[in-house]
Symmetry: C2
Subunit: 401 residues, 2 copies
């Protein structure tokens, strides 16, 4: 399918998803620029952890991409909480669409203590506000493709819809924003963003797509596979890693898969390659001026137990499953059914989670098993405590901010 080439600015273009998204959009013929302030790499230093797959600097990545593909990606280094930087970058880049990945995106990180909660909300909310103002002032037709999270909805006892729900109450009917019950100060920051964006679309006529994304798995994309220097992160630690990655690491090194609590927690998930496809579908099919729309960006739902069993089955060796005291305050058994048809309607063809997908993840881990730090895997942040000491960070977390 022929798509219109757009000038796209990817915020957080050095991150796990931002980088492969930038490559994908570049290869698909868009004119891509990236923004990053390298805070994600700083969190690794703070936590004393590292991506399992080694990653090179953004400067090296961009040079390698130019060498491999002949395509140029422009790079801006700075912080979205710096409004002048945001203004200058938009003026220099003149984007038609902005893909906004540039937020602190770990729930446990936001729950370490007061400082990390405040940091997460201020960083995410202020960065996003600066962006809304810059768009409104420079060109309200710029399409903001904002990364939200399925975690904004929580686990209500009714079906989750895509951003809005028709409510009939005392004989009258209205379509209202879907009620949000987020489960961490991070997820709350995304709810705050959503409300702010909806309002900006209403008063200034901005257009935005809020991608309420599920949990992403996978590490390789068509583009990152072209050269080791193009690799993206693989996080398996307790703070930034996600459950499927952790299970794969534990299976390979012969550690029991650690399920938190009963393991009935069910979440929407998607393959990293589908993230890239979804972002492009959103960007190339923009909403009307003034329209705020929400897409639920995931392809399948699994419980933690189901994921543990899938990993156990896909792995060639013996695998034991262990249930730990749950660090989060969340329902361990609950109803979960969430709509996710809008991206399918735009043409998304999902990569479903198959044994071959898990085997390819296990192979990634095998290749880098000498880099596994098992100490990084155990949960250290407890939702019920107001302050968690991080053994990996040896108390430094307190001093960082």
């Amino acid at each position: 399918m022929e798509v219109k080439s757009l000038r796209i600015l990817v915020l957080g273009g050095d991150g796990y998803l931002g980088w492969p998204t930038a490559l994908h959009l570049s290869r698909r013929g868009h004119e891509v620029s990236v923004v990053d302030n390298f805070t994600r790499r700083h969190y690794d230093h703070e936590m004393g952890v590292d991506s399992l797959v080694p990653i090179v600097s953004l400067q090296q990545r961009v040079r390698r991409w130019e060498e491999v593909s002949g395509l140029h990606i422009e790079m801006y280094v700075g912080d979205l909480t710096d409004a002048d930087f945001v203004d200058r970058t938009l003026r220099a880049c003149v984007p038609e669409a902005i893909v906004h990945f540039a937020e602190q995106r770990s729930a446990p990180y936001s729950m370490i203590d007061r400082r990390h909660a405040v940091y997460t909300q201020v960083n995410n909310v202020v960065g996003n506000l600066n962006l809304l103002y810059a768009i409104a002032e420079q060109d309200p037709s710029i399409h903001l493709v904002k990364l939200g999270t399925m975690g904004e909805y929580g686990t209500p006892n009714i079906d989750i819809e895509e951003g809005f729900i028709e409510v009939t109450h005392k004989g009258r009917t209205d379509v209202l924003p879907y009620p949000k019950q987020p489960g961490s100060f991070y997820h709350l920051s995304k709810v705050h963003d959503s409300h702010n964006i909806m309002f900006a679309c209403r008063i200034w006529g901005l257009r935005s797509t809020d991608l309420n994304q599920g949990i992403v798995y996978g590490q390789q994309t068509e583009e990152t596979a072209l050269h080791p220097d193009l690799a993206t992160r693989f996080d398996y630690d307790a703070v930034f890693g996600t459950v499927l990655n952790r299970f794969c690491v534990q299976a390979v090194v012969g550690h029991p898969l650690t399920v938190y609590g009963e393991g009935g927690q069910t979440r929407g998930m998607l393959d990293i390659r589908d993230t890239l496809a979804c972002v492009e579908l959103a960007a190339t099919n923009p909403p009307e001026p003034g329209e705020y729309r929400v897409f639920n960006q995931f392809t399948e739902s699994f419980s933690v137990n189901q994921m543990a069993e899938m990993v156990a089955e896909a792995h060639s060796g013996p695998v034991r499953i262990e249930h730990l005291d749950p660090p989060r305050v969340e329902l361990q058994q609950h109803y979960y059914r969430a709509a996710h048809t809008k991206l399918l309607d735009l043409g998304l063809v999902p990569h479903l989670l198959e044994p071959s997908t898990i085997r390819s993840l296990l192979e990634v881990v095998e290749r880098h098993r000498d880099r596994v730090d098992l100490q990084a895997v155990l949960p250290t942040v407890r939702w019920s405590a107001t302050s968690s000491s991080l053994p990996t960070a040896k108390g430094l977390a307190e001093q960082v901010r």
Copy 2:
């Protein structure tokens, strides 16, 4: 009725409502402390406006109250965004209930420009987060009585309920947070607070009452009437004043009452004396540990046109009503029906808005008519613009933060 005496900390105790609330709780037998950082007085300097009724310093007010009533009010001066100050104050005061008025509370102020929007959200959200952490760490049984606003709900086309709504959807039913459609970056900050508080109650077992207050009118209470030095503010300017005050000022000085747009905007309202009664009812009837409850704190609903007509009728001289280009982006005709039974169930006996109430407000204005600055009344902040220049502030607003 005999009520249990509580140790109550009033945050924002130097403000329009915080001060008379502190006096009321003190006279009712509670042990009252107040916190303020005098930011509200600073906003006056920034905007070049002043309370119509002169107010003395907090130190003078507290001394006068002790002289008049024999009752002591303890005073803490500091900023809630300073977490150490919050911690130290709670340790020194050891409150059983905290009444939190200490937020930037003007919608137009939050809409001046990017800096004021960011300031409002950071100030309100961070102050409130610091408070939640301090309560959780020191004593989760402290009851947080938080001032929210009816403006959090916006104007949905169905009845507004008190914080939560039962939704039946695709054959299943759940009680969910009422969907929010706030109308300014200020109102958004209160929505962010509400979500953060609800979460803190869930994970840490805090208890909180969120008072979604309507627009307050009135200036005198039983306690402030005891001495001129005990007076509270009377704001009529375009940024911090509210509509009824403005109409009274305009009527007295012979200026047309300025209705924004069609004037069909309908809002919940209440008498300042009912605010004090509601806060005490909430404080003395605390929720269960872990409970987050919402009371809609208003007694009657009026459209802007109805208020203009009431002022015109109550005023002895001729009054003209003028419709201005509306500065806000809001519906000018809409459905509005909001539940407000929970405080009535606890025993609230409302002071309804009667001609005598408006006449007493007109008398307040008459007494201070030489202090009226008509330039301060005209709206200068437009929702559709990302930056408003304030003639009263002579461009200084830009430089303040």
